[in-house]
């Protein structure tokens, strides 16, 4: 990665000595962040390290208690979102933040609409927005499409164009690849590099150290609200960066265990659901982690939904312990011992406004019933036991799950199924949006699950993760299993090649 000489020009962004308190919590403790002009600068840190607070301070949403901020060498004080906008800093948020029923033109120009005699010039805005997108990304969006009709990746393009329409000097990308598949990620990277070529400074926040490695000139690591170091990813291995993030050696990123696969827990025969799932068959054994991956539209999501009773198959069967099962709804699946850790953790995995205890016992209330009533004390006991066993970092079982970090929230989801004593776990992108230390813990947890005899189906688009954890991996392509590999033979390159259809089916 070409590294630019920053010594001549002032830094595009310089934030020094930032302190920010929230009640009793110190989110930023003298944080430093300096970005050179025209570089792609990564920002990493665990959840709670202060990344999002720092960015919100930059966005003018929070006012720092102390500290100095300078943009292009000019000091600025009392930033408001409006000012930040004027100063040429734009943000590509993690959540799309586009109005679903708007057209592309309306979404791009909201707040800066083109008018003719006071009325909206809709056609002009639409034309201009589409032209911008084609010019910048070489992509032509479907005509007249509403935001709600676009894919996540397409929506992101609209987001980026909206930001670009303001002619920004600095673009901040916040976890942009969370919902993207590899092809879209590559496209995004090409776009970012082209933007850098146009002279825009890029700040890139991500949990994916591989991406930081690929993309960034330099990366700043935050920990506990402080600046730990700014290094060049080319010279620093991911493991070292991870160590800087957590101040200890994480050891093996993917803890290995030896478990002999047992009896079949789940068997799928010729399962199909139009239009994406054509035909899939496999067997999942106890004690085994079966990885499943595939591009958007390859049928992976449909498979998960079928296995959990969210949809009904057009053809094929699902068998539990040799018996065919009809899963009309999730309750039926759960009754058979299935557990789902959904991709949408905050919307489907945990009830954010409920306590850790209420979430943990949600699927197993009947266990705690004596005399027709649910016994609080027993619920509490079991919750505490699970908190300890899973090392969930929370002040107590009464804490609202909303107050936990992403990784801990995910552990609560797993705790819910452990309390239910589920036997087959469907994990759908379980480590998305989870920081590196929590990821390792979750991998450890998954390992423990199978050691205890559960069967795990792990859906992931993180190919390194799959290669590192799974025993076997199924690659789906256009609705069918195009390849099944044992983990030893799986490299992320091979997996990628198979999932994009670049290799012939064996």
């Amino acid at each position: 990665m070409p590294s630019t000489d920053h010594s001549a020009a002032p830094p595009a962004l310089a934030m020094h000595g930032l302190i920010k308190d929230f009640g009793g919590v110190r989110a930023l403790d003298g944080a430093e962040f300096e970005v050179g002009p025209g570089e792609i600068h990564g920002l990493v840190g665990q959840n709670g390290a202060g990344k999002s607070t720092l960015i919100k301070v930059l966005a003018g949403i929070y006012r720092p208690d102390e500290g100095r901020i300078a943009i292009d060498g000019q000091p600025v004080t009392d930033l408001t979102p409006h000012q930040v906008d004027q100063l040429g800093i734009q943000f590509i948020h993690q959540d799309r933040l586009l109005v679903p029923s708007f057209t592309v033109g309306e979404a791009v120009f909201l707040g800066r609409e083109h008018t003719a005699a006071g009325l909206l010039a809709r056609r002009r805005m639409e034309r201009e927005a589409r032209a911008l997108i084609t010019e910048q990304f070489g992509v032509e969006l479907p005509k007249g499409a509403l935001i709600s009709e676009l894919t996540t990746a397409q929506q992101q393009l609209v987001q980026i164009v909206r930001a670009l329409a303001q002619k920004p000097r600095i673009l901040v990308f916040d976890e942009p690849t969370a919902a993207l598949v590899k092809r879209e990620v590559d496209r995004l990277f090409a776009i970012i590099e082209r933007l850098r070529g146009q002279g825009i400074t890029i700040v890139y926040i991500s949990h994916y150290l591989q991406e930081i490695e690929r993309l960034c000139d330099r990366v700043t690591v935050l920990r506990n609200g402080r600046h730990v170091g700014t290094v060049s990813p080319a010279a620093t291995p991911a493991r070292e960066i991870a160590r800087m993030m957590v101040a200890r050696d994480l050891g093996e990123l993917f803890p290995k265990r030896q478990v002999a696969p047992g009896a079949p827990a789940l068997a799928v025969r010729n399962l199909a659901r139009r239009p994406h799932l054509q035909e899939v068959s496999f067997t999942l054994r106890r004690g085994e982690i079966l990885g499943v991956t595939g591009l958007l539209g390859s049928g992976v999501k449909e498979l998960v939904r079928l296995l959990f009773g969210l949809d009904r198959p057009d053809a094929g069967q699902i068998e539990f312990g040799g018996q065919v099962a009809t899963l009309g709804n999730p309750a039926a699946a759960v009754a058979r011992g299935m557990a789902l850790v959904p991709e949408d953790r905050r919307g489907q995995g945990v009830a954010l406004d409920a306590s850790v205890r209420d979430n943990t016992t949600l699927a197993s209330l009947d266990r705690f019933v004596r005399g027709g009533l649910v016994r609080r004390a027993e619920e509490d006991g079991e919750t505490r036991r699970l908190i300890e066993e899973l090392r969930i970092r929370t002040p107590g079982p009464d804490t609202a799950v909303r107050d936990l970090s992403g990784g801990n929230q995910q552990k609560v989801v797993i705790a819910k199924w452990l309390a239910r004593r589920s036997e087959v776990y469907l994990l759908d992108e379980p480590t998305v949006g989870v920081d590196i230390a929590a990821k390792v813990e979750i991998y450890r947890l998954i390992g423990e699950l199978v050691e205890r005899g559960a069967a795990v189906l792990l859906v992931s688009s993180d190919l390194d993760e799959l290669a590192g954890i799974a025993d076997r991996i199924l690659v789906l392509y256009r609705g069918a299993v195009v390849r099944e590999l044992p983990a030893e033979n799986a490299s992320s390159d091979a997996l990628l090649a198979w999932s994009t259809g670049a290799m012939e089916a064996a």
């Binding site: 929230f22 009640g23 009793g24 919590v25 110190r26 989110a27 665990q46 959840n47 709670g48 390290a49 999002s52 607070t53 506990n224 959990f308 709804n329 999730p330 309750a331 699946a333 759960v334 009754a335 789902l340 959904p342 919307g347 489907q348 995995g349 945990v350 009830a351 954010l352 406004d353 409920a354 209420d358 979430n359 949600l362 699927a363 209330l365 009947d366 019933v369 027709g372 009533l373 649910v374 970092r393 929370t394 002040p395 804490t399 609202a400 107050d403 936990l404 970090s405 819910k416």
Partner: protein, 331 residues
């Protein structure tokens, strides 16, 4: 955000939390004290009993029905309809010479019919509860108008009123009016149901985040059907009590309770730590409304100013509770 120092922060928040959770009981206490001071006729046992029996009982029962629906994440605008259907069938059958027991059963079934319709709309058709029960409300109104030829009440002559009905409405057990026994039983029953039974816990979970309940394998559909059936059933009980009290069926009398029931239910959420609908809170809300109505009457307020007074009070209690919640969140 990592909560390394959270315990301290949470600790600091607990005291104000408690104070504002006590807002409703405090308001009630203040109101009672105020009226006791303003009018000698207020704190008299016969007046208090009258308040409870006349202003409190029916509204409390309807509000319990509403609380159940709201706790499940929906709302039941047709509680008045269930009340009226029950009343209609009960009085009609008595007038036709049927025994008390049969008429009672018919009344409950009548109310249940409204609930079944709601359940069908909401669970089978997936219509949002506000609109579904609004539709039931509209249709229920038409049904009543059609069956009574335009809203003509059905009166029971003194001779026809069964003893059991008179006992239900005007009798007493151990010195306490029967209606109060009915209300008290329902209050205890539903407090326990919502708070401590698995069904109640599931309903609360559905109300807090329905998607998570579904994805956790809870029998959401079945539970929602039960919720709306129960809600209608409880409202039907109110209808029966009303008819037993006035010995008549007056069409669309149920709707008078609707708005106050909603108000009481939501005021009642202030009692709960997480702001969730709960039966004790609702009951206190109804009590507040009843006491204010009675008190204003006793201190000689014009009937029309009473409504203003009650309205302003509800407004203030809501402002206090929501403002405090916001204040706490910002802290």
């Amino acid at each position: 955000m990592a909560q390394a120092t959270l315990p301290t922060a949470q600790h600091r928040r607990r005291l104000p939390d408690l104070v504002f959770q006590m807002g409703l009981p405090l308001a009630l206490l203040l109101v009672v004290l105020f009226f006791a001071w303003s009018s000698p006729a207020f704190l008299v046992p016969s007046n208090l009993e009258s308040v409870l029996v006349n202003n409190f009982t029916l509204l409390a029962i309807v509000s319990i029905a509403m609380t159940l629906a709201v706790a499940s994440g929906g709302i039941d605008l047709s509680v008045g309809t269930a009340l009226d259907f029950a009343s209609l069938l009960f009085v009609s059958l008595i007038a036709a010479g049927q025994p008390f027991g049969i008429a009672l059963l018919a009344g409950l079934l009548g109310g249940l019919a409204a609930g079944l319709f709601n359940a069908f709309l909401i669970v089978a058709l997936g219509i949002t509860p506000f609109l579904a029960t609004l539709g039931t409300l509209f249709i229920g109104r038409s049904v009543q108008q059609l069956t009574t030829g335009g809203g003509i009440p059905i009166y029971l002559s003194k001779a026809k009123v069964p003893e059991a009905a008179t006992f239900l409405a005007h009798g007493d057990i151990l010195g306490i009016a029967t209606p109060l026994w009915v209300v008290a039983s329902l209050i205890i029953l539903f407090t326990v149901l919502l708070r401590a039974t698995p069904f109640g816990r599931r309903v609360t979970a559905i109300g807090v985040q329905p998607a998570v309940a579904w994805y956790s394998g809870l029998p959401v559909r079945r539970d929602l059907v039960l919720v709306y059936l129960l809600s209608a059933l409880v409202a039907a009980v109110a209808g029966l009590m009303l008819s037993a009290t006035v010995n008549a069926y007056v069409p669309s009398s149920g709707n008078a309770f609707l708005l106050n029931a909603i108000g009481a239910t939501f005021i009642g959420t202030t009692l709960d730590r997480r702001g969730r609908p709960n039966v004790p809170g609702t009951v206190l809300g109804v009590l507040l409304l009843a006491v204010v109505a009675n008190g204003l009457l006793l201190i000689g307020w014009n009937f029309y100013w009473q409504q203003v007074g009650t309205g302003v009070l509800i407004f203030l209690v809501l402002v206090a509770s929501f403002a405090s919640r916001r204040w706490r969140k910002a802290a």
